[in-house]
């Protein structure tokens, strides 16, 4: 579903990605690990369409050129980015935001939009699955949420929007063990033959809970090594130094 070929990216005349290749098939879970500054977040930003980068190379997503799609079109076509730092949006009710988002995607797909009652039912069910306190949903989006609540909220959005490719950008950072478990369970519940995941992380810890099919090591803008889940364990003991 996703094929990245020789992806290069610059910001402020600084080259961050230096020819990255990656292929993800339906149902696969890929993990990208790498030290600070290796280009992990840049990759997720470019895949989801953030402005400000000069990009070359090719990214095919279901045989479409992903880089030509608008940010919201990518979302409509099933791409989802769980943010490393979810933004606080004052004055916007979380429930209303979720409903607007879900219905924007349904509308783009030509599907029937959910009414308030159908939506509430769906949200209640998903929130319960994630052990997410429903009361939080009537608050302003991410405003005053704890770090854990913000990340859980990302996973809740993911489970409601039911994307085809989810990119989790350091979702584990700032989470305690219990929260990591809950978030991982949420991700695992969404795993299916159709849906794929790209998990970006510093640490192997998250991968104890979400078992990846492939692990890639990103150093200095390039994938320097790929392997199975065991590669993550190897990195944990030897560090990135051994590969650079």
């Amino acid at each position: 579903m996703l094929e990245v070929k020789n992806l290069k990216a610059q910001i402020n005349n600084k080259e961050i990605l230096k020819g990255l290749n990656l292929a993800i098939k339906p149902g696969e879970v890929h993990a990208i690990m790498g030290p600070n500054g290796s280009g992990k977040s840049t990759l997720s930003n470019i895949l989801s369409g953030k402005k400000g980068y000069t990009v070359s190379g090719e990214v095919k997503y279901f045989n479409e050129n992903l880089l030509d799609l608008k940010i919201e079109e990518r979302a409509h076509k099933g791409l989802f980015l769980a943010f490393q730092y979810p933004l606080e949006i004052p004055g916007v009710n979380t429930n209303i935001f979720l409903k607007t988002s879900l219905n924007a995607i349904k509308k783009a797909k030509g599907k029937k939009e959910l009414d308030a009652i159908e939506f509430l039912k769906l949200v209640k069910q998903k929130a319960a699955e994630l052990k997410f306190d429903e009361k939080i949903l009537s608050r302003q989006l991410n405003v005053g949420f704890s770090g854990g609540e913000k990340k859980k909220n990302e996973i809740l959005q993911m489970s409601i929007l039911n994307p085809k490719l989810s990119i989790l950008d350091e979702t584990d950072s700032g989470l305690d063990i219990d929260a990591i478990k809950i978030v991982s369970e949420g991700v695992n519940a969404l795993r299916s033959k159709e849906s794929s995941f790209l998990i970006i992380t510093h640490y192997q810890r998250l991968l104890n809970y979400i078992k990846p099919d492939f692990v890639h090591v990103l150093i200095n803008g390039k994938i320097v090594k790929s392997g199975g889940a065991e590669l993550a364990l190897e990195l944990e003991s030897k560090g990135y130094e051994s590969l650079s």
Binding site: E72, A75, L81, F83, L87, P90, F97, S101, A104
Partner: protein, 414 residues
């Protein structure tokens, strides 16, 4: 203009039955206006809004007296599914009054123009109003009476009104422990008129006035509102301004907290596009101990629009334990917009809590990206963020029914 002023003044005097004292007082007001004219930017309070220039650039020859035959009230403009009392001004003339929801012994109305007031200088526009006012209403709410339903004052202009100055005056008197919810609603189909409205509010002890001013229909009139609020002990004046429809508005509020435990709230939204130019100017005078004031103004400016908030808090030497707060936040959506904020604190007491703040900036790009990554278009994302930005000012409205009405008008969904 002076010749025309005098001719129109004589016409107005001739058409009204006034006492000699009133005529003398009006003449003094006329001279005061003739001497000073429309305010220009050389006057400190008007440095961001040169009314003289604004009027002369859009109105060739201003009439101070309208020859229009009074129009029937257009009932289609009434807010439906919302029971209320009504006063309707059509082209500056009272065309309808309906207080059928109230006990008529408890709400007194008078249209008697003879003010029998001594000349008092406020500014040239109030003088103009005093000299020319031909339609006036005073609403007195008797002691211990709370109106069953809100009062909506409709200010309607029709498209045949042109190049005319309209001067209206209204007094609201709330006796001890009375309560009124007032909505002033503007519905203009006219353009290039100058509408000058002076409103006085006297709040007796324990009285509550909830006062909502809504100008949300796009029009090309120039408006000046002068609101003078006097508060007695333990009374509350809650004000909300939604300023978005007219070409130009200056909304001036002078508020005197005359006795202990009185409080004033002024919250508002300025939402402008094209070349609109709106100003809110407040003078909050803390004149007694333990008085409180709170102001929150949110502005959203697009295209070439200009917004201004000048907020002054004055604390008299005897007004210890004053609590005064003001905050202005502006969103400038385009580099050609302009926002001027001028907070002023003038404090002569030493045991007070006063603060002010002012911010302006554009929408946060990262927030837009976040919302778009969830499938919202750029436009939808911006609208959601703008609504979110405006929401806390609207949430200050304490009357739930009116809050929802105003939310609907603004287009804030919930």
């Amino acid at each position: 203009m002076i010749e025309k002023l005098k001719i129109d003044f004589d016409k107005i005097i001739g058409s009204l039955k006034l006492s000699n004292k009133d005529i003398e007082s009006r003449k003094k007001n006329l001279y005061q206006f003739v001497e000073n004219g429309f305010p220009n930017k050389r006057i400190e309070d008007w440095k961001f809004s040169d009314l003289n220039q604004i009027i002369s650039s859009s109105i060739d020859s201003l009439r101070f007296h309208s020859d229009l035959t009074p129009s029937e009230t257009d009932k289609t403009i009434f807010i439906d599914k919302f029971e209320h009392n009504k006063i309707i001004f059509t082209n500056g003339v009272i065309s309808d009054i309906d207080f059928s929801h109230e006990d008529e012994a408890k709400v007194l109305l008078t249209k008697d123009l003879d003010q029998n007031e001594d000349f008092k200088e406020v500014n040239s526009l109030v003088s103009l109003n005093n000299a020319f006012v031909s339609n006036y209403i005073r609403v007195t709410v008797k002691e211990n009476y709370s109106l069953n339903k809100p009062l909506i004052v409709y200010n309607v202009t029709t498209k045949d009104l042109k190049f005319t100055a309209i001067n209206l005056k209204m007094d609201i008197i709330l006796e001890k422990n009375s309560c009124l919810k007032l909505i002033s609603l503007f519905d203009d189909s006219s353009e290039n008129n100058f509408i000058n409205i002076v409103q006085n509010y006297d709040l007796g002890q324990d009285a509550i006035l909830k006062n909502y001013k809504i100008d949300n229909k796009e029009n090309f009139n120039i408006k000046y509102f002068y609101n003078n609020i006097n508060l007695e002990k333990n009374s509350i004046s809650e004000n909300f301004i939604y300023s978005t429809g007219s070409k130009f508005i200056k909304n001036e509020i002078n508020c005197n907290l005359n006795d202990q435990y009185s409080s004033a709230f002024i919250n508002g939204i300025i939402n402008l596009k094209n070349s609109q130019h709106h100003e809110i100017k407040t003078n909050i005078n803390h004149l007694a101990e333990n008085t409180k004031s709170y102001q929150l103004i949110k502005s959203v400016l697009s295209d070439k629009a200009k917004g201004i908030y000048q907020g002054k808090i004055y604390v008299d030497a005897k007004a210890q334990k004053t609590n005064g707060y003001q905050l202005s936040k502006a969103l400038l959506l385009n580099e050609n917009t302009e926002f001027n904020g001028k907070p002023e604190l003038e404090i002569y007491a030493d045991d007070v809590k006063c603060s002010h703040g002012s911010t302006s900036g554009n929408l946060d790009e990262d927030s837009i990206f976040y919302l778009m990554s969830r499938g919202l278009s750029n436009k939808e994302s911006k609208e959601l963020l703008i609504n979110g930005f405006l929401l806390d000012a609207v949430e200050k409205i304490t009357d739930l029914e009116i809050k929802n009405l105003i939310k609907n008008m603004i287009g804030i969904k919930e």
